[in-house]
Each structure stands twice: as structure tokens, then as C-alpha cells.
């Protein structure tokens, strides 16, 4: 009886800490007052509406969106062949290669950001946007390689040989046989990469410049000056967006099999 009670308590606490902040943010954004408070100071949708009128939010949202989409696509273009090579060929140092590929998520983001700023942007005069793009690609790459590798490992190699014996070239066999069969893995990698890139803070923090800020950095900056509930409203909207993406992915792709 006591064990049952204890386990329920633990589950309830866990759920409270997982879902609680989310609920608080949603409610705080609904406040009618001028400051972020909880419980909210009256009810209104005005902060949810205001979010869409803030110029810098609109700009940084689009920057984050473009970074997430193109950074992830770029990571997949680099990552799929890498995953293919690692899983199909007996490469020397393949363990080392895997570790290097995983480095961007193992090394703290602050260090990655500082390093990119210090050695790419400052001495080589890279624009901040380009550095951001490269950084996001690098950060998503490990996920791309890992997720695509696991679906490639589930795919038998003799299928490609069969395609070759039926008259396909090696590239043709990859395009016609391998890609269609790892499609869900690639989409899963895309969604994971997209979310990772979109929510990225530490690296982007270093790589911000005048007029170039990703949405999370912009929100940080906004909050330092104005402590109104619009940031809460925006956070809630972003959380809904993430949930919607994952929900759609799960519904159509069986996303959870790959992560």
C-alpha cells in the first residue's frame, strides 16, 4: 500500500514538473495585466495578438525558421551519405568518425559558439548569418547521421545488390531502393533536427549581430528590457507548434520508432 502510494506520488510529481511549467506559461500569456505574473492578472488574448505585431519577433522567427529548415536540409545532405558509408563499408577508424560526427552535441554549446565566433567570424570576416547557418548545420548533423544510420542498419544490403543485378547502377540503386526504404528515418531526422535547431540557445547567443538574432535569443533580449506577458504567449505558441509537428509526424510516420 505504501509502495503504491509512493509510486503514485513520484509519478504525480514528475508529471507536475514536466507539464506544470507549460501550463503556467500558457496561463501567464493569457494575463490582462502588463507584467508576467502567475496566477494571471485577469484574462485576455491581447498578448497572444501582440506577439504577431512585434517587428523583431517576426524577423527573428523567420531567421530561426530558415536556419532550421535549410540547416537541417544541409545536415541531411551531408549526413545521409556519411551514415551510408559508415553502415555499408568496413571503414578504417569508423568509431573515430562516429565520435567526431557526434562532437557538436557532446561539446558544450557555449564553447562551440565561442570557437566559431573567435575563429570564423572575427579573423575570417564571415558574416554572422553564414556562421549561424554553419553552426546549426553542424549541430544537427549528429542527429541526422545517427537516426539515418539506425534505419540503414535495418535495411539489408542484399537489396541493393539485387537492384544492381536487375540492371541498376550503384547510384540508381541508392535512389530507387535505399532512399524510399529509409524515407521515414530521413523525415524523423529532419523533424528532430528542425526542433533542435529552432530551440538552440547557447551557440546562437555568440553568433548574434545587429539585426541578426534567432527567435530564442530575441526573446531573451526582449525579456531583459520588457517584462510583459508577450514572451510567455510566444513561448506557448512555440510549444504548440512543436507539439503539432511531433503529433503530425507520429501520426503519419510512426516517428517514435526512430528516436
Amino acid at each position: 500500500m505504501n509502495i503504491k502510494f509512493a509510486s503514485r506520488l513520484i509519478i504525480s510529481l514528475t508529471l507536475t514538473f514536466l507539464i506544470g511549467p507549460f501550463l503556467i506559461i500558457i496561463l501567464a500569456g493569457l494575463s490582462a495585466g502588463d507584467f508576467m505574473t502567475f496566477p494571471p492578472d485577469g484574462m485576455s488574448l491581447k498578448w497572444y495578438i501582440k506577439v504577431f505585431t512585434v517587428e523583431s519577433f517576426r524577423e527573428s522567427f523567420w531567421l530561426s525558421m530558415l536556419l532550421a529548415v535549410f540547416g537541417t536540409i544541409c545536415a541531411l545532405i551531408l549526413g545521409i551519405p556519411a551514415a551510408y558509408a559508415i553502415s555499408r563499408y568496413d571503414l578504417p577508424y569508423s568509431e573515430t568518425i562516429k565520435t567526431i560526427v557526434a562532437a557538436p552535441i557532446i561539446v558544450p554549446g557555449i564553447i562551440v559558439g565561442l570557437a566559431l565566433l573567435r575563429y570564423l567570424v572575427v579573423p575570417l570576416n564571415f558574416t554572422v548569418t553564414l556562421a549561424l547557418f554553419m553552426a546549426h548545420t553542424a549541430l544537427v548533423l549528429p542527429y541526422a547521421v545517427r537516426v539515418v544510420s539506425s534505419s540503414l542498419n535495418n535495411l539489408r544490403g542484399d537489396m541493393e545488390e539485387a537492384a544492381v543485378l536487375l540492371g541498376c547502377g550503384r547510384v540508381g540503386a541508392f535512389m530507387r531502393i535505399v532512399l524510399p526504404n529509409i524515407r521515414s528515418g530521413v523525415l524523423a531526422a529532419f523533424i528532430l533536427g528542425f526542433v533542435t535547431s529552432f530551440n538552440q540557445v547557447p551557440v546562437s547567443l555568440f553568433l548574434s549581430g545587429p539585426g541578426v538574432r534567432t527567435l530564442p535569443i530575441d526573446m531573451l533580449g526582449y525579456m531583459e528590457i520588457t517584462y510583459d506577458p508577450s514572451v510567455a504567449a510566444l513561448s506557448a505558441l512555440l510549444a504548440f507548434l512543436s507539439v503539432a509537428i511531433v503529433f503530425v509526424a507520429e501520426k503519419f510516420l510512426g516517428f517514435s520508432r526512430y528516436v
Binding site: R156, E161, A162, V164, L165, L166, G167, C168, G169, N181
Partner: protein, 337 residues
């Protein structure tokens, strides 16, 4: 020479530093069903992959239909291969699996439909054309893999362990299917197997391989009745194989005098060739088992265990009893190392 449709000449095959097949010469006739038989690691699969073009030989030549194909890539050789796992394309329907090779040839749609339908019909899968391979049984998958290769009318069809993934009843079906296809199309078939029963039942000729070399080559009955080496006899199910020294059979440090003259290094008898209840040798019955039409004995003799069978009606003998037996000159196989 025109008889030799596929010709392997001084072929040597290696994986990296490991030489699997050192030097292989083999001629395969047109329209023949030939089996590459041997234990795992004997180089049979490697040889098949080399014929298919999936691996390049270190040296030597492969000729198909009088053309040297050694340097021709796998996708241009016109050879079909039915994989052990079938290697069907899971994202395509049965129809599209069979159509795959034809689409690459840029045939017209109506032509493709006609040929695919004909082959699905031939292998009895016409009603499953829309089905995905994962929703088909093992036997159906194999017939689909067969149709996918044959629709391209390959010069040679290679099959990797064609019966190993099927249960006993399906094995018989598939065997009939393969023999029928071969009869109808006259296609040359090479299949790889480690199962002597499969090779004996299916092939016109058997190539028995050991350590990348041909141990013996011949018709199934030749191999079954007259293996020439100790390895061949062992692989083809001879259970009583003994070494010969000075007209005696030796084993376990003991020797038994032979009742006939031989120059062979080894002698072998099938269980049925051993005579029981008479003869010059004695042993103790270690086990008796009833196997329907016959009774199987294991006899502990001074030179080792002897396996013998008799018709079931005879000899209701018990374990532990002493029994006389003979290893006669009728039914003996003379072997070299």
C-alpha cells in the same frame, strides 16, 4: 567447346588478404542445372558472387556464352540471382518488384504489363500482384524473387540456397517449380547449397567444393555411389569411414583384418552395406532405433563405432548384446585422402 556456356578459367578470388578460391577451372553446359555443394567457407558463395559480378576476381577469367565478362559490371552481365533472403523490395508491390528491371530498360508500359503478368501467372502469383512482399508467405516471396529475375530472360540464373528457408512441403513444390522453369526456358542454372540432399535432388551435375577447390565433380548418382575422397564420402553421408593399413582396417589403436584385397587409403560403407549377424567381426550393440522401414544399429567395435541398418522385421536385438557383423567388399567405396 560450344558446349561450355559458362566457363571459369584459372579463377582466383579473395576477400582482402584472405584467399578464398585459389585456382578454379569449371565449365558449365548450356541448359544445365548445376549445384555448387560444400560446407560453409568452401568458397561456393564467393564463386557464385564472382559469376554474378558482385566481386572482382584477383586473376583469371569468366566467360559467358563465349564472351569474356570478367570486366563487365554486374548490372550489364545479364545474369539473374535469387538471393537466400530473396532481397525483395519492401516498398514496391509484387507487380512492381517484377517490373523493376523492365522499367530500367525503358520498355513501354503495355509491354511491361504483358511480361510481368505472364511471369506472375507462371509462378502462380497473378492474384497477389498488388500485394507487398512483407504480406506474402515465404514460398510466395521466393517465387516472386524467381519471377523478378526470370522476367529479364537472363543467360544464367544463380540461386543462393534456394530451398533453405522453406519448410519440407514447400521445398518439394519449389523443386518441382525450378525443374519446370528450367525445362520450359532451357535456362542455365547454378545454385549454391550446403545440403547434399538438396543438391542430389535438384542438380544435373554437382560440384563438390572444399577449401576453394573442386573436390569432385559429377552426376548426383556418381557422387552418391562413388565418392572418391574421404571428404566427399563424409559429406555425402557415408557413416562408416576407416583408414586402411597393410590390408587391415585401423581405428582407435586397433586393427581388423580385411576380407578382401584393396589398395585404397580409406574404405567406406553406407549403413545399409554392413551385414549383421554373420561375419568375422564382433561388437556390442550401443543403440537400436526403429525408423519405420528399417532398424538402425550403432555397434561399438574395436576400431570404433559402426552404423548399420537392417529391414525392420529382422533382428529384434537388445542394447548391450554382442553381435557379429561384416564389412564386405560389396558396397564398399575406395577412397583417397
Amino acid at each position: 567447346m560450344s558446349d561450355n556456356f559458362v566457363s571459369l578459367q584459372k579463377l582466383s578470388l579473395a576477400y582482402g588478404q584472405t584467399l578464398v578460391v585459389p585456382h578454379l577451372d569449371l565449365d558449365i553446359r548450356k541448359g544445365e542445372l548445376i549445384a555448387l555443394l560444400g560446407p560453409s567457407g568452401c568458397g561456393k558463395t564467393t564463386t557464385m558472387r564472382a559469376i554474378a559480378g558482385l566481386m572482382a576476381p584477383q586473376s583469371g577469367h569468366i566467360l559467358i556464352d563465349a564472351q569474356d565478362v570478367t570486366r563487365i559490371p554486374a548490372n550489364k552481365r545479364g545474369i539473374g540471382l535469387v538471393f537466400q533472403s530473396y532481397a525483395l523490395f519492401p516498398h514496391l508491390s509484387a507487380f512492381e518488384n517484377v517490373a523493376f528491371g523492365l522499367r530500367l530498360k525503358k520498355l513501354t508500359n503495355s509491354d511491361i504489363t504483358k511480361r510481368v503478368d505472364r511471369w506472375l501467372e507462371t509462378v502462380g502469383l497473378a492474384h497477389l500482384a498488388k500485394r507487398k512482399p512483407d504480406d506474402m508467405s515465404g514460398g510466395q516471396q521466393q517465387r516472386l524473387a524467381l519471377a523478378r529475375s526470370l522476367v529479364l530472360e537472363p543467360k544464367v540464373l544463380l540461386l543462393d540456397e534456394p530451398l533453405s528457408n522453406l519448410d519440407a512441403r514447400l521445398r518439394l513444390d519449389m523443386r518441382l517449380e525450378l525443374q519446370r522453369v528450367q525445362l520450359e526456358t532451357g535456362i542455365t542454372m547454378v545454385f549454391v547449397t550446403h545440403d547434399q540432399a538438396e543438391a542430389l535432388a535438384l542438380a544435373n551435375r554437382i560440384v563438390l567444393m572444399k577449401d576453394g577447390k573442386i573436390e569432385q565433380l559429377g552426376a548426383p548418382d556418381e557422387l552418391y555411389n562413388a565418392p572418391q575422397t574421404r571428404f566427399a564420402a563424409d559429406f555425402l553421408g557415408f557413416q562408416n569411414i576407416f583408414e586402411v593399413e597393410d590390408q587391415t582396417i585401423v581405428g582407435k589403436g586397433n586393427a581388423l583384418p580385411l576380407s578382401f584385397q584393396t589398395k585404397a587409403r580409406y574404405l567406406a560403407w553406407r549403413p545399409g552395406a554392413v551385414t549383421l549377424e554373420k561375419g568375422k567381426y564382433e561388437g556390442k550393440i550401443k543403440s537400436v532405433s526403429f525408423a519405420g522401414e528399417q532398424r538402425e544399429f550403432v555397434i561399438e567395435a574395436p576400431i570404433g563405432q559402426i552404423k548399420a541398418t537392417t529391414p525392420a522385421a529382422n533382428l529384434p536385438r537388445q542394447i548391450g548384446e554382442i553381435i557379429r557383423f561384416d564389412l564386405p567388399s560389396e558396397g564398399v567405396c575406395e577412397l583417397r585422402e
